[in-house]
Subunit: 346 residues, 2 copies
């Protein structure tokens, strides 16, 4: 079974995807799972093992290397255990008081390097740029599919942050619905723009630049801050300083500037926080193809939305309080976190 179900109380979409586990006994491995350690020789993502993955969707090729086989620095393949599948039409239906959509979507893996032990923070600039190129390429390609409303690119680093394989990788999930937190952000931004004809994110970033105390890193093009209402210790938000609603519109020079800034931030975390597990998530504009179907609703998106990357180190565990209330207890004020990361010597 693969379907999306809507909770009418919390207005939240849930993906029910029951290939892998059903009964509690099947969940056990997930429970204790240490990061699945695979020797490079048997790792499906390592260079030379290209035949161990489903067929390649995209690659960043070394100059002169032939297609297929080795000679790549980044490649994208379908997830072998996808939460959603790409075939079929989107069927939306009511189930009594509930709503469901069949499980159409995409689930891909971005293999960030042929090297099993390579970490993003340790990459050369051109290696890092190649990863960002893959993000941009998959985003812009999947957007041509009008069935897909949102394309999420994210990374889980280390087992504690949800990574089930050690080899450096990111993931892409594209869904026929807009997820709640993104919908919430879009709404907030639209409301703010409706009142003030200014971008909410630009307003926030101007305040951060003025006050400085929550700024971790800033250059001419990008800024990383510890958000005022951080949920987690050392939570960060990276954003372009100039207004821009769409990561997919970045040109090569933009990707290079982003790589430089982003890598610096990851290095500060790696050195200052002891190479912690983390998640990061790209929040960019929803799919323009789907947007065209609801033109009035999305008409101001280029003005009111501002793409950004959420970076969430996993330093504390999340207790019951957070689950049931929607608020979080954070023991580290963002001002303290930002000052600490600013001072890390690289």
């Amino acid at each position: 079974m693969r379907e999306l179900r809507h909770d009418p109380i919390q207005k939240r979409w849930v993906i029910i995807s029951s290939d892998r586990a059903r009964r509690p006994v099947d969940l056990e491995p997930d429970l204790q799972a240490p990061e699945r350690v695979v020797e490079p020789a048997r790792c499906p993502f390592c260079g030379g093992n290209e035949d161990k993955t489903p067929s390649e969707i995209w690659r960043w090729r070394d100059p002169g290397a032939p297609a297929g086989g080795p000679g790549w620095s980044v490649r994208v393949v379908p997830n072998k255990y996808p939460a959603l599948t790409i075939e079929g039409n989107v069927e939306r239906e009511a189930v009594g008081h509930y709503d469901r959509v069949n499980g159409v979507g995409a689930h891909e893996v971005i293999v960030e390097s042929p090297d099993h032990g390579k970490r993003l923070a340790d990459m050369t600039l051109s290696e890092f740029v190649a990863v960002l190129r893959a993000y941009r390429a998959r985003l812009n390609d999947l957007r041509r599919d009008a069935r897909l409303r949102y394309i999420l690119i994210f990374k889980n680093y280390k087992e504690r942050a949800g990574a089930s394989l050690q080899h450096p990788h990111s993931q892409v999930i594209a869904t026929p619905v807009t997820p709640r937190t993104v919908a919430m952000e879009l709404d907030s931004a639209r409301q703010h723009y409706g009142l003030k004809e200014r971008c909410l994110f630009c307003d926030i970033l101007h305040q951060e630049v003025r006050e400085q105390e929550r700024v971790v890193q800033m250059d001419e093009h990008f800024i990383t801050v510890a958000p005022y209402a951080s949920r987690f210790p050392f939570e960060l938000m990276l954003a372009p300083r100039a207004h821009g609603h769409d990561f997919g519109l970045l040109d090569d020079a933009g990707l290079e500037r982003l790589a430089f800034h982003f890598r610096d931030v990851l290095r500060r975390m790696q050195k200052g926080l002891g190479d912690p597990p983390y998640n990061f998530l790209l929040h960019t504009a929803p799919n323009t193809e789907s947007m065209n179907k609801r033109p009035n609703y999305w008409s101001t998106i280029a003005a009111d939305w501002h793409w950004h990357i959420e970076i969430l180190p996993r330093l504390t565990s999340v207790a019951g309080f957070e689950w049931g209330t929607g608020y979080y207890i954070n023991p580290t004020p963002p001002e303290v976190a930002a000052a600490y990361l600013r001072e890390v010597e690289l």
Copy 2:
């Protein structure tokens, strides 16, 4: 520092409470923390050690036992490391584009038994009723404080679910703001009532009773279902079958019926799922004292709201996908979970 901060993008309150930990090195213990194992002789919650806690707020006394010292079956004490403090006025202010409220509130511990090893699922009916009495007493007492908008009662069972002490206990947190998920539920219920003049939860429960496939346990007074859009494997919702907006209005007979039903559900989880870590959370109506300040907003609450308990076993880990998108991938369809728990032989 203790304050509540509002995120203008996600419209979410975060508690910044930085007594305990600041720098990453201080977070470390939390990172690896095994459930803090304390011998009963040194456990502050064990019978006979009453002098090891801050002074008692409430107790359910054994017949004939004197106040203070042993002779209780449930007692409530202030949390020694509170996220919020009870002194002072509520100060709400703007901080540029942000909002803050000072950290006024209550944070209490409900010690469920003098016995270090007692589990809720193993309690006698009268022991379980005493725990529910404590919930009702604290809810109704804290409501007299008009500064407090919401009173949350919850339990973290085992370290993986956020418990930092082994001795059986629940917690109470009362805040001067309404948490986002509760606000979301209140909104959904009000919208539904506005359209249909029916309670959203009653509608949902009627559908569940009709369809049966997601019902785990049902008697004349209470029902427990695996919600249609369950986020987690074996997530459950327990609710009264008859409409009621306020847990605090339950009479003694109601508490006894609830204890009987609730204990049965916990036993099914304990036996069927191998005594898993879990959280549960009581979602009841917001504080009526605060309500009086916004009469129009809350005027239909007795009709449109329906109290319930969310029960969340912790069988899988939460990966990055969930954090950044607000949707969840659940590998166990709720129909499968409900059938499994229905069939557990007690």
